[in-house]
């Protein structure tokens, strides 16, 4: 054995290949099989996809690096469940490419922030965090309110999501730019199309307070208001099935 190793470590290519093989064992054994295990991603019926506006907001969330300070992952620990709400399920990130679970909390976890605060609060807070939370150390993102949202590439973004398995329909892709505008313009004729394509529960509001103009603020607030709201699975699990499972194991 020491002789074989002596030989291997003297061959550059051979040793690099050996390192690659050894280093990938962890991933192959621990991660890859999860994709085949039935329980990994729960099957739920009410899971819906992000609307184009929410997807655009998600892209802004990534662009501004929000994930660096905010996680979107409530762990299975009592203090987290009692503070934030039901622990995160894999299915909730089913259409997240890439997922934004994060691993560091300079600010609070955002997995259940959707619907927790009003749109006005999100806007006021993003424009100047210390105006509403004096002890906050979050940077201000006031320019989001001024920047017009780029919508012409939204069909491409939806198409890209479709390629990695998010079930966007043709009508959704065709109307992506129009739906993005309509979701923040509740009184327009186009708003009905959003509810029709994405469900009656879709938030259709002037997120930044100005219905006539589609800004990056609209997109980011629309996204923040849907985080954790794509499915009720986590809440159902807590009240129904999970309790039964807990009893079974006792």
């Amino acid at each position: 054995m020491p002789e074989a190793h002596r030989k291997l470590e003297r061959s550059t290519i051979g040793f690099v290949l050996a390192i690659v093989v050894v280093a990938s064992i962890g991933g192959l054994v621990e991660i890859a099989p999860l994709f085949t295990i039935d329980e990994t991603v729960e099957e739920v019926e009410d899971m819906r996809v992000y609307t184009p506006l929410e997807l655009a907001g998600r892209n802004i969330y990534i662009r501004e690096g929000c994930y660096a300070c905010h996680s979107q992952m409530i762990r299975t620990l009592r203090d987290e469940v009692e503070r934030y709400g039901p622990y995160s399920l894999a299915v909730e990130s089913q259409y997240d490419h890439p997922m934004l679970w994060g691993s560091k909390r300079t600010g609070p976890d955002l997995a259940r922030v959707g619907g927790k605060y009003s749109d006005e609060w999100h806007v006021a807070h993003l424009v100047d965090p210390r105006a509403v939370v004096p002890e906050s150390k979050m940077p201000a993102y006031a320019w989001l309110q001024r920047n017009t949202l780029k919508t012409d590439d939204l069909p491409d973004h939806l198409m890209a999501m479709l390629r990695v398995g998010v079930p966007y329909r043709d009508a959704m892709i065709e109307n992506a730019a129009r739906d993005a505008f309509a979701q923040a313009y509740p009184d327009s004729d186009m708003a009905e199309g959003v509810a029709e394509r994405y469900g009656e529960d879709t938030n259709i509001r002037a997120f930044d307070g100005d219905p006539g103009r589609l800004t990056e603020m609209d997109a980011l607030v629309a996204y923040l208001q849907i985080v954790g709201q794509l499915t009720d699975a986590a809440h159902e699990k807590r009240t129904g099935e999970q309790v039964v499972r807990a009893e079974e194991t006792e």
């Binding site: 295990i37 009003s118 499972r245």
Partner: protein, 298 residues
């Protein structure tokens, strides 16, 4: 020195590398390291047997201990709820007036209420509950929808202009934007309000213009919700315009903005997020901040 040669002093093999005449001995891996590797390997084998570990296609080995994180956290939450049951049951059972008469319950309400307020309410209403522009202060006597604990608890449950089916609903029309009143009329109404409300001491030359017309216009346009005397109506969530509490601001610009653009504040509903007991605790906590008069109607 070439591979396989021995160092003349120690008699050990060398690695064959040489740097400026300095060579490296090819020593064995120390025993302590080998021992550590053996122990950790044994530990992992024991762990595989006891805990969920190996993937088997569509399933996995569940482990002899039957440990499941989800069941564990569920149990921990239930146990904690059981430990708190002694006082949560009391709070759930008693009505607001009875709770406020029990000092030992009020001590818990203050402690638990402070945490709940910090986690859920402070973002908008401020850690000191004094509010922010657009987000009402809860630390004063002015209430949009009523300040007795029962009403506050109901507001918490259904929210204001929220997505709850029973939500409280209020919307002030945009008198300017929607063309109901012209600029002069709006200016007159603002003059009337500023001249009659309490605690406005920065009256300027503009405020003396159109007070009389403002009174007339107020009666025609505003009194339906804010009352003939302008004291508001908690049944409709219409704020009192004669007190010294201002949601946005009492300066001319803020008031003209409000009358011309309208207002519709939003408070999320908390029925899905907080338990009934938690909302009850918060209602008492908040009304106590507002003046230590929990249990007494406004």
């Amino acid at each position: 020195m070439a591979i396989g040669e021995r160092d003349p002093i120690t008699g050990r093999h060398t690695t064959g590398h040489e740097w400026n005449g300095i060579e490296e001995l090819d020593n064995r891996v120390p025993r302590a390291v080998i021992f550590f590797l053996i122990v950790t390997t044994l530990f992992s084998i024991v762990y595989w047997v006891l805990m969920p570990a190996w993937p088997l296609g569509v399933t996995y080995t569940k482990g002899l201990l039957g440990i499941d994180q989800r069941a564990t956290v569920e149990k921990a939450v239930q146990e904690a709820a059981a430990r708190r049951a002694a006082w949560t049951d009391e709070i759930a059972r008693l009505d607001f007036a009875e709770i406020t008469k029990r000092p030992e319950l009020m001590r818990i309400v203050r402690e638990s209420g402070s945490t709940l307020f910090g986690d859920n309410c402070a973002a908008c209403h401020g850690t000191d509950a004094k509010g922010n522009p657009g987000f009402p202060s809860l630390a004063d006597d002015a209430w949009l929808w009523g300040g007795d604990p029962e009403t506050v608890a109901e507001t918490l449950r259904i929210g204001i202009n929220s997505t709850h089916p029973e939500t409280r609903f209020a919307q002030m029309p945009a008198f300017g934007r929607d063309g109901i009143l012209d600029r002069t009329a709006i200016s007159s109404i603002v003059s009337f309000i500023r001249n009659n409300a309490q605690g406005i001491d920065d009256l300027g030359p503009l405020d003396s213009k159109g007070v009389k017309e403002g009174a007339q216009l107020f009666a025609e346009n505003c009194a339906a919700c804010h009352g003939e005397d302008g004291r508001g109506d908690p049944a409709m969530g219409a704020p009192d315009l004669m007190d010294d509490s201002w949601l946005i601001g009492s300066d001319r610009a803020s008031l003209i903005g409000t009358v011309s653009q309208g207002r519709q504040g939003h408070m999320p509903h908390w029925e899905d997020r907080l338990t009934e007991t938690d909302r009850k605790i918060l209602a008492i906590y908040v009304t106590e901040i507002a003046g230590g008069r929990a249990g007494a109607a406004r």
